[in-house]
Subunit: 187 residues, 2 copies
DNA sequence: AAATTTTTGTGATGTAGATCACGTTAGGAA
DNA sequence: TTCCTAACGTGATCTACATCACAAAAATTT
């Protein structure tokens, strides 16, 4: 189960066995069933979560009760309410399990500890963050520039797996389209 | 002129004079007039730019000739086509000057050199990138959740300075609204 | 297998915002 | 000043997509 995490780190930086064991000792483990919440709006957000198994969504629900999905997370991805996590403020997002889930939990304290003790870990997280930034930029561009249909097709091409694991309603909410419109687009 | 850069670094990490001088030696300087391009779509992107003076926009122009502004950058901000810069691919963005501009230029090589030589610089860039990620997430949320009018008002509240320095047409393009609609909203 | 809940499709209608088309005003340049 | 271009406002019309409403199918639970 920790193998996935090690491989994940080693995509960016090589680690000795001791180094990895040391890193791993800063994580805790958590298992959740389908429909359970990892974070709920209003919570304190103590952890960043590395997904070992399963599938989650991070979403914002507005006053009218409308839900917008900010991120899906599956194996090999990190998920949290980053705003709340990094700034130690109240969560504005809900993060809940679309499938049964296993995650590795990294507290902000442990993250900063690892980053300051091990330069290569700071390097790792810098690179991760850079990639994340680029991905979000391209999502913004897609929201500004593309029609609902184009966004649908882009996503289908980029993450076809998602369409097998997630109901269309949620895909719609991620794309910023109504469920009905999405249904018409895909037929 | 380099004072701004030093202050910028020191918001996150303290530096000795020698450290800062060393850092600064990895930057070059560039001045541009209004309407000049720092980056054009198709270019190789050699630098990340720290804005010392002036105002720029980074935008994407689609096949129909429609321009979407991804980012404004003014004093104390960084701007580049990050996708192209980090991945060493062709620029897809145009970056051009809305006002006369002075920037400090950091090549990818020098950036990585500084990051690997000085742990505190790697730390600095990790934190910058984290903040950037959070800011983009909240922009995505605003695009998914808010109406044109709400987005307009959020921006007006968050960056009122922008409205004094940038024509409404460009604000509209940043918000993802037509010029005409924005005009009707603000009256 | 029956009951319940979730997911999906599809018609009818409504609306925010786009697009087109002008005219006016304001800034820069010669 | 005069010329020229960029910025801004505003009406008329159009359209992509939302919303409402209902039904069928699929998945989950008992």
């Amino acid at each position: 189960m920790s193998k996935l995490l090690r491989e994940h780190f080693e995509k960016i930086t090589a680690l000795t066995d001791q180094e990895f064991d040391y890193i791993l000792s800063h994580f805790t483990t958590k298992k959740l069933k389908k429909h359970q919440f990892l974070v709920q709006a209003g919570d304190q957000v103590k952890y960043d979560y590395f997904v070992v198994k399963g599938l989650l969504k991070a979403s914002f629900t507005n006053n009218d009760g409308k839900e917008h999905i900010l991120q899906f997370a599956m194996e090999d991805w990190w998920v949290s309410d980053f705003q709340a996590y990094f700034n130690q403020t109240e969560a504005i997002l809900d993060i809940d399990c679309i499938e049964a889930v296993e995650v590795l939990c990294l507290s902000l304290t442990n993250r900063e500890k690892l980053c300051s003790e091990m330069h290569k870990i700071e390097h790792f997280f810098r690179r991760k963050s850079n990639f994340g930034y680029i991905a979000l930029q391209s999502r913004i561009l897609s929201l500004l520039n593309s029609s609902a249909k184009e966004r649908y097709e882009e996503l289908l091409q980029r993450s076809p797996i998602l369409f097998q694991r997630v109901p269309k309603t949620l895909i719609a909410s991620y794309l910023g389209v109504s469920r009905e419109t999405l249904s018409r687009l895909s037929s």
